[in-house]
């Protein structure tokens, strides 16, 4: 049987080799054709593009043009590629929805989402850089505030400020976005690299059931650091595994930024590290005091904090809107949000995300259409429940329709009422900067070095300006 399989009857060696070669070539050709078909990104007959789009940057005529004029294949269907972070959960669905919604409105454009697996923005940057180094040249990339300086310094994205100024559609859009949200995503040189389609600002979550059980009044919005500490102390019972306030072991945005913002300090001045300042001393000493007094448990991961918060072991923690999805899944509703405690000043710490146009895109105008489309009311209204939206009108509607947390409207209101912490400390090498801060904080919070020594070491090691 084996011989028959290897040597079909009636074939000579030469004929057999020729036949095998032909079959192999045929197979390779078929593979090449399939690959070419898959990779072309355009299908069907070339059609005339009739969908109106906007003018090119710098052109203030406000005239409309066609997708074919904005780039792409020239005469036929255009293909637009964007890279997005796939954090699991609904990431892929959200990206596909964004693509499909755009394609519904622009039938002559095919939008191809490119998934980049990641578990944090840091790994997303690293994996994206690898994808780009591997030859991918997407038109857009979905990025957060933390990536702005990295994109700017490496000239990976183009500033969209000219588009914003010249696109007549933007007037209504900008009027419906809180100025603070735009401030929060502005680069250090004053340029914008994306319109924030989503954003988060830091608020304090508190477990209402735990407060009631401990007989502690719900916090007011204008509470001070001392009032916060007293409240947290009243909710703490370390012997029985209950703590007033917990924070994450990694992540500048959630760990340090809200505290330092409310001292009037920052982690960076332009691109120079400012980690050994009186403001940093004040913040880190305050946080170390919470640990030493048994008010806070040792820092832990975000997932662990959410779990402990739902069980009542942790009464308060700080975050943006993102924990709501985690709480909604098991139906946990015993919580509300309030403002971060006020220090010598009050600033809301904000981070946004949106689509930046890559420098390598050969159709930046079409890419701008996509970026702009992500902040239209229709698309914003389609964002997942609990997700943040940039448009004031949509945010208000969604807050009014939300029962939990009761104070949901605080998110947008605090951006309207208070200055935004700007610039957000996002050096070009964000992951490295965050790594340095985290390593030294671990030693300080673990009691292995003093606050003074730890901050001095942190400052000495932090690489910011190149």
């Amino acid at each position: 049987v084996r011989n028959r399989l290897l040597h079909p009857r009636g074939q000579t060696d030469r004929g057999r080799r020729s036949s095998q070669l032909s079959r192999m070539l045929g197979l390779l050709t078929a593979i090449a054709l399939v690959a070419a078909a898959c990779g072309s990104g355009s299908g069907g007959e070339p059609t005339e593009t009739t969908q109106p789009t906007t003018a090119a940057p710098g052109d203030d005529s406000g005239s409309t043009t066609t997708a074919s004029e904005t780039g792409g294949d020239g005469e036929g269907q255009s293909t637009l590629e964007f890279i997005y972070p796939n954090f699991g959960g609904g990431s892929e669905d959200a990206a596909n929805l964004a693509a499909e919604t755009f394609m519904d409105a622009y039938p002559d454009v095919e939008v191809v989402p490119i998934s980049v697996a990641a578990d944090s923005w840091g790994t997303f940057f690293a994996n994206t850089a690898t994808v780009i180094a591997g030859g991918a040249s997407p038109d857009l990339i979905h990025v957060p505030t933390e990536a702005i300086e990295f994109l700017r310094v490496n000239e990976l994205a183009i500033p969209i400020t000219p588009y914003m100024e010249n696109d007549p559609d933007m007037e209504a859009t900008l009027a419906d976005i809180a100025p603070g949200i735009l401030d929060g995503v502005t680069a250090s040189n004053g340029d914008l690299y994306f319109i924030p389609q989503g954003w988060n600002n830091m608020v304090m979550y508190y477990n209402t059931a735990r407060f009631e059980e401990a007989g502690v009044e719900f916090p007011s919005e204008d509470w001070t650091w001392e009032e916060f500490k007293e409240t947290a102390r009243a909710l703490s019972d370390p012997e029985n595994g209950q703590y007033g306030y917990a924070w994450q072991d990694v992540g500048l945005f959630v760990t340090l930024a809200p505290w330092i913002a409310n001292t009037g300090g920052n982690l960076l001045d332009a691109c120079e590290a400012t980690l050994d300042t009186p403001e940093m001393h004040e913040v880190v000493t305050f946080m170390k005091g919470l640990l030493d007094e048994g008010i806070s448990p040792t820092p832990m991961s975000a997932g662990d904090i959410f779990t402990r918060f739902m069980t009542g072991e942790v009464a308060m923690f700080g975050a943006g809107l993102w924990p709501m999805g985690t709480f909604a899944e098991p139906g946990f509703e015993d919580y509300d949000v309030t403002r971060w405690p006020t220090g010598s000043t009050y600033q809301t710490v904000l981070g946004g995300d949106g689509f930046a146009i890559m420098t390598t895109s050969d159709q930046p105008d079409l890419a701008w259409e996509f970026a702009k489309f992500s902040v239209t009311p229709e698309v914003q209204a389609n964002r997942p429940p609990g997700g943040s939206v940039a448009l004031r009108s949509v945010a208000e509607e969604r807050a009014a329709a939300t029962d939990v947390p009761a104070n949901m409207e605080l998110f947008y209101r605090s951006v309207e009422e208070f200055p935004v912490f700007n610039p957000f400390p996002a050096p070009p090498l964000y992951s490295e900067f965050e790594g340095v801060v985290t390593r030294h904080l671990q030693l300080i919070f673990g009691g292995e070095v003093s606050v003074e020594e730890g901050l001095a070491n942190m400052q000495a090691e932090a690489v910011t300006c190149e």
Binding site: L6, A133, D249, S431, L443, F445, G446
Partner: protein
């Protein structure tokens, strides 16, 4: 090794297995050769593409400065010189070596004890159950295992300290102290991988001829003597294999330190591979990270060579 030596001694080496001229080969033999190549091709191509090619690329990258996005710049040996003067890298090697030592001793020692216990002191049905139980963590994702340990080892809210507290033990800062964090990484990594070592030891134990043990029993040797004089010497090749494999694995620990401690506090539980990852994909210094990879390869080659050389003093091949 023996067969290679004998071939070399005959003056032909590996070439002796190949015909001097393919045309003199019988037709059936040629068919078999082609079939063998066909069967080997998938793994051979995979090995070339995913092991040899990246390894060669890493050597090349170690001589450049490249941030993935800008053009690479040739810097010669600079990345290696930098590695030799990098005090952090040295500290990370120290912490990695300590964790690797602890991991190998705990993993191999405990696996040997458990394997002997399972094989000689437990009914067959119960032994099968425990063998399966021990191997189960090995097939679970290292990240998932580390996440569970992170939850359990938390100083203030973890189960481990809760139960230790019942015995009057003060709360241990498993994940946040420079002393305990590396130990936590070793415990989590050992828990995950010990099943593999147990299985290999059990296979080694089953290969020991029963008549040797019976002869020792007839000579009046007790269980302890039989273990030291019969079982352990005959298991020594297995011990050597596991020491080498676990040493290589320990130097490449990644998920456990990343998830459990983020390598901290400071660099107390950071491994070389984690440091390399941070250099390459956190700081985007691909050239320097590649030089670190080449140096790690050199260190592991030297370490394995030394283990082989030293093993001649204590391994017994029957």
């Amino acid at each position: 090794l023996t067969s290679t030596k004998s071939r070399k001694a005959s003056g032909a080496g590996w070439a002796a297995t190949l015909p001097p001229d393919a045309s003199t080969q019988p037709p059936g033999q040629r068919r078999w050769d082609r079939a063998a190549i066909g069967f080997l091709a998938p793994s051979g191509i995979g090995f070339l593409l995913f092991v040899i090619f990246p390894a060669v690329m890493v050597f090349g990258l170690s001589a450049v400065e490249w941030n993935l996005l800008s053009p690479a710049r040739f810097v010669g040996w600079d990345n290696y010189l930098r590695a030799f003067s990098d005090s952090r890298l040295l500290a990370v090697y120290r912490s990695t070596a300590l964790m690797a030592g602890g991991f190998v001793v705990l993993n191999v020692g405990l696996a040997l004890l458990l394997a002997v216990f399972l094989e000689t002191r437990m009914p067959r049905w119960l032994s099968s159950f425990f063998r399966m139980t021990f191997i189960f963590p090995f097939v679970v994702s290292a990240t998932a295992v580390a996440m569970i340990w992170r939850f359990m080892l938390h100083q203030d809210l973890g189960l481990v300290n809760f139960y230790l507290g019942g015995f009057g033990v003060d709360k241990i800062n498993w994940l946040g102290s420079s002393f305990w964090a590396p130990i936590s990484v070793v415990i989590a990594a050992t828990w995950r991988s010990i099943g593999f070592s147990i299985l290999i030891f059990i296979a080694g134990l089953q290969a020991i001829p029963q008549d040797v043990r019976e002869a020792a029993m007839v000579d009046g040797a007790n269980a302890w003597t039989r273990f030291w004089r019969i079982t352990l010497p005959l298991l020594s090749p297995t011990v050597l294999f596991l020491v080498i494999v676990n040493t290589l694995g320990a130097f490449q620990l990644f998920a456990e330190p990343v998830v459990l401690t983020s390598g901290g506090p400071g660099d107390a539980s950071r491994t070389v591979v984690q440091f390399m990852y941070n250099t390459g994909f956190g700081s985007f210094q691909m050239g320097y990270a590649s030089a670190q990879a080449v140096l790690l390869l050199a260190v592991l080659v030297v370490l394995t060579f030394l283990q082989f050389r030293l093993s001649k003093r204590w391994t017994f091949y029957g």
